[in-house]
């Protein structure tokens, strides 16, 4: 395969705040829960997107990551912008919330608003809605971030006509969040493909897997 890809921007959740291309764009503030922290980060980013509050914590985290990554620079070709997100713990937070509701001994009623988030690929939909992206999308559940595997999927998407990819890792479990996100584009230059591939893999490999865990 000879697709040329390169990273144009990178976002990481590190030490309780978002960093874009190595620079902190939000600040860490003590919050009583992950939910409160997510709301605080939303407000710091001045998002003005009420739908955010209807999302579960996984989708909120993914939306925040992409907001930091994309900002006002929305993809030029939304139909050719793919979304590729990796995740280890699936939608466990919403799965548990749903299980708790339907196991209630007094009133075992499911909540439609909780139930719709009991699949991890819903975060792709939330990202697509927010940025009006209609390209290919794929959610992969994997134990660890294997750069070769990530690149293989990215390359396949690019080969299927995507000129740009939003690619990352988003996980929420209990009060812990983990996320990084990359903006990857097809390369127009004459750079050697294998070098680009190697660099992309190296960059992904070097992204710290810091986990945001709230202090009690």
């Amino acid at each position: 395969m000879s697709t040329k890809l390169h990273i144009v921007s990178a976002v990481q959740l590190r030490e309780g705040c978002w960093h874009r291309d190595g620079r902190a764009v939000t600040e860490w503030r003590q919050n009583e829960s992950l939910a409160a922290w997510l709301s605080d980060q939303y407000r710091q980013l001045n998002m003005a997107y009420p739908k955010f509050f209807k999302m579960d914590s996984l989708c909120k985290l993914a939306t925040l990551a992409v907001e930091v990554l994309v900002g006002d620079e929305t993809p030029v070709n939304p139909q050719q912008t793919g979304i590729l997100v990796f995740n280890r713990t699936s939608s466990i937070v919403s799965d548990c919330a749903h299980q708790e509701l339907i196991s209630d001994s007094v009133n075992p009623l499911p909540s439609p608003a909780v139930f719709v988030y009991t699949l991890p690929n819903i975060m792709l939909g939330e990202i697509a809605i927010r940025y009006r992206l209609s390209g290919e999308n794929l959610c992969v559940i994997s134990d660890v971030a294997r750069p070769e595997e990530i690149f293989m999927h990215a390359e396949l998407m690019a080969a299927s006509g995507m000129t740009e990819l939003i690619l990352g890792w988003v996980d929420v479990i209990d009060q812990q969040a983990r996320a990084w996100m990359l903006r990857v584009k097809k390369h127009d230059g004459e750079t050697n493909n294998s070098q680009l591939s190697t660099q992309l893999i190296k960059d992904i490999d070097n992204i710290p897997t810091w986990t945001h865990s709230l202090k009690s």
Binding site: P50, F53, K54, N107, L109, P110, S111, P112, A113, V116
Partner: protein, 85 residues
């Protein structure tokens, strides 16, 4: 009726995760869907669950939903009429 309307507004905010709203932000007579609060189809299902969970009322005729969920006031009137029945 005023007390029920106020209570209902609080429940709607909580049930639908309208985190940035207060009861004062909700117009009692404004349409809940499309305009007004701009609720969607999932919210409609949540409102049906809210009626059942909080008031023990099952909406048996789906066609009635459009009128019942037109506004907070129509919801409150429906609850009151079912409780009096």
């Amino acid at each position: 009726m005023d007390a029920l309307i106020e209570k209902l507004k609080g429940e709607i905010i909580q049930q639908l995760n309208l985190e940035e709203m207060t009861t004062a932000d909700i117009d009692t007579d404004a349409p809940l869907f499309m305009e007004g609060l701009g609720l969607d189809s999932i919210d409609a299902l949540e409102l049906i669950v809210l009626l059942e969970r909080n008031y023990g009322i099952k909406l048996e005729d789906p066609k009635a939903g459009k009128d019942v969920f037109h506004s907070v006031r129509t919801m409150a009137e429906y609850i009151q009429s079912r409780q009096e029945a």
